[in-house]
Amino acid sequence: MARAERRISTGQAINEALHIAMQSDPDVILLGEDVAGGGRREGEDVDEMGGVLGTTRGLVKAFGPERVRDTPISEIALVGAAVGAALTGLRPVAELMFIDFIGVCLDPLLNQAAKLRYMFGGKARVPLTVRTLTGAGMQAAAQHSQSLYWMTAGIPGLKTVIPSGPRDAKGLLLAAIRDDDPVIFCEPKGILNLVEDVPEGDYEVPIGKASVAREGTDVSLVGMGATVRLALAAADALAKQGVSAEVLDLRSLAPLDEEAILATLAKTGSLVVIDESTPRCGIASDVAALCVDRGFDSLNAPVKRVTAPHAPVPFSKRLEDAYLPSVPRVLEAVRELGIG
């Protein structure tokens, strides 16, 4: 269905999705550190901050401090309470400011949200959404730049999604909030200010479905979040060399759209996966492992992984730039496949 569209940023798209979700369901609440911002109390009329990056601005004015709650700096209590609230009838959207902070609140995700339904024999549901910033590029250094979505993607019982731009961000967040299972919604720093046409109104992007961002026949470039743009840029460069690259945007890291990955591999016979996270136990390995198992007969070449190195994220711009996947490194990987 065609809808009116206008150009807005990923941050604005997320804000819009939150407005729509709260409008359409009174059980949806927001909680997190400074999600209102300014410790707004009933009555007071602070010009609130709406989170460190202003993503949640306007929501407390629209829905009030009962539904948009600033919390203490107590992640394990705020995430744990969100799990308890979800278990008992609310549909909370908790904000974990940076995914790096999962170190102080993993248990409610790992051992509670992810497992309660299973441990209770299917007699419970935990419709929780956790919004969290991921990725490097802002010189935020080793503790504010990680792409730890592999940790949540690896936990059975959780779902993890990551948009590559405003349009998917809005639809995926609406789908995540309405999903009856706990969903980790990643907000890659690198795309928050990216602007594109976004439909107005209410729509969902299905969780578990990847999307072909560009059609191609010679090689498959698989990306997620911020690396999708990288893959598209690499595809442009390859086109100039006469190489036709297909770009797949995973969108959903768990569940992983295995059929879409196998389909593009079957089409091109060779695949490069690009992930800004570190190399061990990550999404890139899962994609490669899938290719060498169910996709074996389609493989004409090695599967290359272009990721960050096995190291923390450095502060110095010079080092951070070298740390992150780049178009040259993607082209290099494609060359290693004997293509282009």
């Binding site: 919390t71 394990i76 308890g84 008992t88 409610p108 209770f120």
Partner: protein, 323 residues
């Protein structure tokens, strides 16, 4: 405080259920009939019953690794519990959860929990639900003295305090965390004093005396329900058995244990109290005893006769929309 005869009988029945149910478990594990880790609540019955007797199905309880007592006190079905411990398809959790994860959402029982302290934020979140949905419900977190040294305790009580949630935090101070005496890891005499860090109201009850727990929990529940904010209730108690079934108990003196068991047994004290006051007769109590024995025997028989879950169950119930 004068309690109805029916209330007293109900209290006695629930305490007996816990006692007999767990003595039975002890027997079954020792006989090798049950697997997994079992943490028995025997000796602490007055705490769970004194609190839960004043809760309805619309009120929530988050429990611990030592959760059978809270489940039974909250009215969870004994048959479903026993079948769960046997790992049968008819168990409350289809055999998937076991002792540390027994739950019954219909009874507001948000589950035992294998992670020390993890039930505290869950109960806190449930209290937020009650507050925002204006159900008039309260949410209770039971946890041990050891759990009061967990960050989840600190963060959750603070959150409940600033949000004035209808929550009750019941710390069951049984003198030990596993094999370590409480005074070795908690530098304050009363854990209740920790409520002051959150400007939270607190109370201390004799956890071996049903009537004292009932009275203080009643006031605390009333306080929380009426919107006046959360309460931390410390119940001084003692676990008659080891930390888990099979515990050698080398770390505590037999004399100490015997003293508690002989002189402070909450069920024996309840009986003498109600009989001296002529609130209940021996016959009433013995009838309950017989009924409870039959219930448990029936639960065991049913569990042993029940089928094991089908292996296909291994991968179901991971997601609502099975992904």
């Amino acid at each position: 405080m004068q309690l109805e005869r029916t209330t007293l009988l109900d209290a006695y029945r629930r305490m007996r259920r816990i006692r007999v149910f767990e003595e039975k478990l002890n027997e079954l594990v020792t006989a090798g009939k049950l697997g997994g880790f079992l943490h028995l609540y025997v000796g602490e019955e007055a705490v769970a019953v004194g609190v839960c007797l004043q809760l309805g199905d619309g009120d929530f309880v988050a429990s611990t690794h030592r959760g059978h007592g809270h489940c039974i006190a909250k009215g969870v079905d004994l048959g479903g519990m026993m079948a769960e411990l046997y790992g049968r398809a008819t168990g409350l959790c289809k055999g998937k959860g076991g002792s540390m994860h027994i739950a019954d959402m219909h009874k507001g029982m948000l589950g035992a929990n294998g992670i020390v302290g993890a039930g505290i934020p869950l109960a806190t979140g449930a209290a937020l639900t009650a507050k925002l949905k204006k159900t008039g419900g309260v949410s209770v977190a039971f946890f041990g003295d050891g759990a009061s040294n967990q960050g989840q305790f600190h963060e959750s009580l603070n959150l409940a305090a600033i949000w004035q949630l209808p929550a009750l935090y019941v710390v069951e101070n049984n003198g030990f965390g596993e094999f370590t005496p409480t005074d070795f890891v908690v530098p304050v005499k009363d854990i209740a004093t920790r409520a002051a860090s959150y400007a939270m109201r607190s109370e201390i009850a004799d956890g071996m005396d049903f009537f004292d727990v009932f009275e203080k929990a009643g006031k605390a529940i009333e306080h929380a329900r009426s919107g006046s904010g959360p309460v931390l209730l410390e119940c001084k108690t003692y676990r008659f058995k080891g930390h888990y079934v099979g515990d050698s108990l080398r770390y505590r003196s037999k004399e100490e244990a015997e003293r508690w068991i002989q002189t402070r047994d909450p069920i024996a004290r309840f009986e003498s109290r109600v009989r001296e006051a002529r609130l209940l007769e021996a016959d009433d109590l013995r009838r309950v005893d017989r009924e409870v024995d039959e219930e448990i025997a029936a639960a065991v028989a049913a569990a042993e006769a029940a089928p094991f879950p089908d292996v296909s169950e291994v991968t179901t119930d991971v997601y609502v929309g099975e992904a």
